[in-house]
């Protein structure tokens, strides 16, 4: 059943053409980010993951906006469960995140084989860790977007402002905590982009050992976001 629902979600999403603008922006980012040589792979990949996080927030938000209400109601009844319905939506966003993660990591690596973009030779752990970071941050971003959907925040302008605020705070949370140490008691609420970048600060290559802590934080973050989303949507209903 899960595969069938993912297929349904995929077809509906593709037919909605909501992916065109984000994909276009993604291509522009890739061209701009990798038009400069010689790049530090750690810095490039962390920036790219942060960008993908922001992009997926947008994708998650638009995915849940302007939905075909009646068709979605029919789907919920076919699935016999609101939880199953929302889990399928989260997994679908995860699939979209994986797709963009493959492109975000794969394209620069291929480009590097042709044009030597990176300063140092790319290692296996660079590829694996980059992909994992992209994938998890993209899912976190998509969930943020889904949490800001019109059925939770009815004022669209507030939702967009909220998304921009969360994305910005996630990116600048490290420097803010350095400046105002007490802010860490509040800043933990924002997505863990800073935890990822701090783990590889001043390193030339990614390593799997440094990923463990950020990975645990990201997994916990995804579970909490998913829990809040499902709980909230089961309360709001349609």
């Amino acid at each position: 059943m899960l595969i069938s629902v993912l297929k349904y979600n995929f077809k509906m999403y593709m037919k909605s053409h909501k992916y065109i603008m984000p994909f276009f922006i993604f291509i522009i980012y890739m061209v701009m980010a990798y038009s400069i040589r010689l790049l530090d792979i750690v810095g490039s990949m962390v920036s790219s993951a942060a960008f993908l996080f922001a992009l997926m927030t947008w994708i998650g938000f638009t995915y849940c906006s302007n939905i075909e209400l009646i068709a979605e109601e029919v789907l919920i009844l076919k699935l016999k469960s609101h939880t199953r319905y929302w889990v399928s939506k989260i997994i679908f966003m995860g699939v979209v995140g994986v797709f963009f993660s493959i492109l975000s990591v794969g394209l620069p690596i291929i480009y590097n084989l042709i044009c030597n973009v990176f300063k140092y030779p790319v290692t296996f752990s660079d590829i694996v860790v980059s992909f994992i970071i992209h994938m998890f941050l993209s899912i976190i971003g998509a969930l943020i977007g889904m949490l800001l959907q019109p059925r939770i925040i009815s004022n669209r302008k507030m939702a967009i402002l909220g998304a921009i605020f969360i994305v910005l705070m996630s990116i600048i949370k490290g420097p803010v905590i350095n400046e105002v140490p007490y802010s860490k008691y509040v800043m933990w609420i924002f997505p863990p982009i800073n935890e990822v970048s701090t783990a590889y600060l001043d390193l030339m290559h990614f390593n799997i050992a440094n990923l463990i802590m950020p990975l645990i934080i990201m997994i916990i973050y995804i579970f909490i976001e998913s829990f809040i989303l499902i709980k909230r949507m089961k309360k709001v209903l349609f």
């Binding site: 059943m1 349904y8 037919k15 909605s16 109601e73 349609f238």
Partner: protein, 276 residues
């Protein structure tokens, strides 16, 4: 027949400040076929959504088995940007229907509802009646525990209406509980064993004779000259709607006939025939 499949206790439902249901209790028995009647905006569609858990309630309790399978025919189906046949195929896959069964079932349903030439058309380009037939097909692909029908005949031609009634009757015979919101007396007469009227935030059980005395007016209009593609007029209170190449015909309650006539003329249609 005497087991409640859904039990509503002290239901209160509000939309903003508007009270839709006020302390309503209701038992729906397994195998019953219930018609919900009442004026537009009284809460019939809301009640259907409450029964299957699609909308939240303000207070009270709706008791039902978690695993009940609901099939639902909404009043206005989404005009999706996807071919009708493709949509039905996706729904069939979600329902877990085997390939052979799916082909057999859809061939039968497409033929019965005269949809064979429509399945490769995008749903956003279908007329209201055809879209409603697609909605019927998705609901009849599998046997549910409860079939929810919200104005199921709106816009459908008379042959499809007959087919629909026959198929729903077969499901009732098979023990499926049917809950239907509708205005058409002939449909209530043919399908429903129990009639509930939604009125003044309450639900009343009414007798068949109470609704059958309603008088109807017949109206026939020429198609709009400039609109040969033709879209079913989006006007409330029209029943037994039929269309052909040259004109459209339907019935409306005598009490609503002046309003409907005015709205049709204001929408650009020319009256051909009127009978009270």
């Amino acid at each position: 027949m005497n087991i409640p499949i859904i039990r509503i206790k002290n239901l209160v439902k509000k939309y903003d400040d508007r009270l839709i249901f006020d302390d309503v209790s209701l038992d729906i028995m397994k195998g019953e076929s219930i018609a919900l009647t009442g004026h537009n905006g009284m809460g019939k569609s809301t009640l259907i959504k409450i029964l299957c858990g699609l909308t939240r309630i303000t207070s009270g309790e709706v008791i039902r088995d978690k695993n009940l399978k609901f099939n639902y025919i909404p009043e206005n189906f989404s005009q999706l940007n996807i071919k009708a046949g493709e949509y039905i195929k996706l729904i069939g896959e979600i329902e877990g229907i085997s390939k052979d069964d799916f082909v057999k079932k859809t061939n039968y349903l497409y033929k019965e509802f005269n949809l064979e030439n429509m399945i490769n058309t995008s749903m956003k380009n279908l007329s209201k009646g055809t879209l409603q037939k697609i909605s019927v097909v998705q609901a009849l692909l599998s046997k549910p525990d409860i079939l929810l029908l919200d104005e199921p005949l709106s816009g459908q031609d008379s042959d499809s209406q007959k087919t629909f009634i026959r198929m729903v009757r077969e499901l009732i015979k098979d023990g499926v509980t049917v809950i239907m919101s509708c205005h058409e007396v002939f449909l209530i007469d043919q399908l429903s064993s129990r009639i509930l009227q939604v009125k003044d935030s309450k639900i009343f059980e009414i007798k068949r004779a109470d609704i059958s005395s309603e008088k109807y007016a017949s109206m026939t209009f020429y198609r709009k000259e400039a609109d040969k593609s033709f879209v079913t007029p989006n006007i409330n209170g029209i029943y037994e709607y039929h269309e052909n190449e040259d004109y459209i015909e339907f019935k409306t309650k005598i009490s609503e006939s002046n309003r409907v006539l005015t709205e049709m003329i204001n929408s650009g249609y020319t009256l051909k025939y009127f009978e009270r």
